[in-house]
Amino acid sequence: MGKTLIQKIIEKNSGKSNVEVGEIVFVKPSVILSHDNSADISKTFEKMGPKKVFDPSKIFIALDHEVPPPDSKKALNHSIIREFVKKYGITNFFDCGEGICHQVLPEKGLVEPSSVVFGSDSHTTTHGAFGAAGIPVGRTETASLWALGETWLKVPESFKVIINGAPKKNISPKDVILHIIGKIGADGATYISVEFTGEYVDKMSMGGRMTFCNLSAEMGAKDAIIPVDETTRTFLKNRLKKEYEPLYADKDAKYAKILEFDVTNLKPQIAKPHKVDNVTDVSEVAGKKIDVFFLGTCTNGRTEDLETAAKILKGKKVKAGSRLLVYPASREVLLECIDKGIIKTLVEAGGEINTPACGPCLGAYGGVLAPNERALSTANRNFKGRMGCSENTEVYLASPATVAVSAIYGEITEFKGD
């Protein structure tokens, strides 16, 4: 019987010659990701009594969740982290302004295909876009990983999701993955490793692939992977400073499910409150008034996303009474968007440009909602209260194009592609 991709990746990083689905094995990650939660993690770590971290070059910390810090408690978290970084000689530390951890990690050449990335953030699944296993863990486990350099995993079953067809020009990867989540459900892939493949995936940009793997967390997946190809190699060239060996699933690998989608006739998709799998056509909810438009996050804050929005908003204005928040995903993205005139266009349209960071996605600062407000966002979660206020608020999730065109009208509007 052939092996799935996750099976091969876990095998490689467990040092074993063979692992079976369902088996529990110890795995050594190539990198351990964390962010502002590193302040709390560092306290747990020190209570465990280690003399040092297992390898200071394999710990990655980027400050992004409360950047710039909205109050002195959050500022203190950052200073605790800076102290920790200094004390233990952590080499891959990225301070405020560098960007969102899931964007910065690959940009800095720190995602290695066929390796295991553990991250103290549920959207660590993003790194599957580079043929790695991006597996989320909690804070205590991250502290333990810093000390020991390994943890246990159960080799998961896999789904093979095949996506074919050429979509209409108003469709982006966000529409496609929202559609898939709507079909699979919020717990439809719990404990599962999802392998994406098919002609649509082959043609998808690196950014689109990251959107796909990022959002797979919202169907419960343990991780989601897109195998390495020319698109991956091109992105990694001049970033990843070491040789890597891509792994591929065997042709006769056994999958718990094989799911096929055809995107030829797909219409723009939107997730309605308060669940990510509550997905419908944008046209079904067109006309709903929106107070806050949010363009950014680890899901859709990349240059191609902001560029799409800028093309739509060029020469137009955000509807009076609504706000457009823009959070580029990283400094690199921000600089690219400055060079391309994207930032100028978005500012002229009335957008508020912010420091590269998570912003109000998790409801902690930087544009949270007031009671009775409604948001349309490119982020990944629309849970009740997610954007900082649970009193009669709603969050809708859609593509950058849907957010941009809707911002012009101040209400949910279907993007027609022109």
């Binding site: 209570k47 465990m48 205590t140």
Partner: protein, 171 residues
Amino acid sequence: MDKIKGKIHVIKENDVNTDLIYAGKYTYEILTPEEMGKKTLEDFEKDYYKKMNENDFILSGTNFGCGSSREQAVTCFKGLKSGGIIAKSFSRLYFRNAVNKALLVIESPEFVDYIFAKDNGENLDVEVDPNKGEILCEGKIFKFAPLTGQALEIFSAGGLAEYTKRKLAAM
């Protein structure tokens, strides 16, 4: 592990997410487990924690704890000295965090269906045997799969922090 006697508090929903259990705005404040306890399920229902006495259980549907990796959504129940969570199923990350923080998480769709079928199961008494994998309620016994292997080792140590501490001390 001792048997736990407590009351159940029923949340008759699926996909109870970590934002509802522990709001995002508190995740970057460093609080004690007891302080976290007072934030429990705040966005689901104000002052929910006041319902919960020591050893009480939450009972809910499928995919409990979906969403964020935030461990406080587990630790808040430890702060309330809760008996644990009984659900039809858990999100992977919530289940793993629960084991790592030694919070008892029980998958028993059969028992949840039994309670959900009632007009009001709130505050019913249960007795849970985590070793045997049994819930005793209204004279009936409902079975669940107890923890085994690596997960049991971590849970029995009192959680991963203690487990790792011992491992480091033995190195």
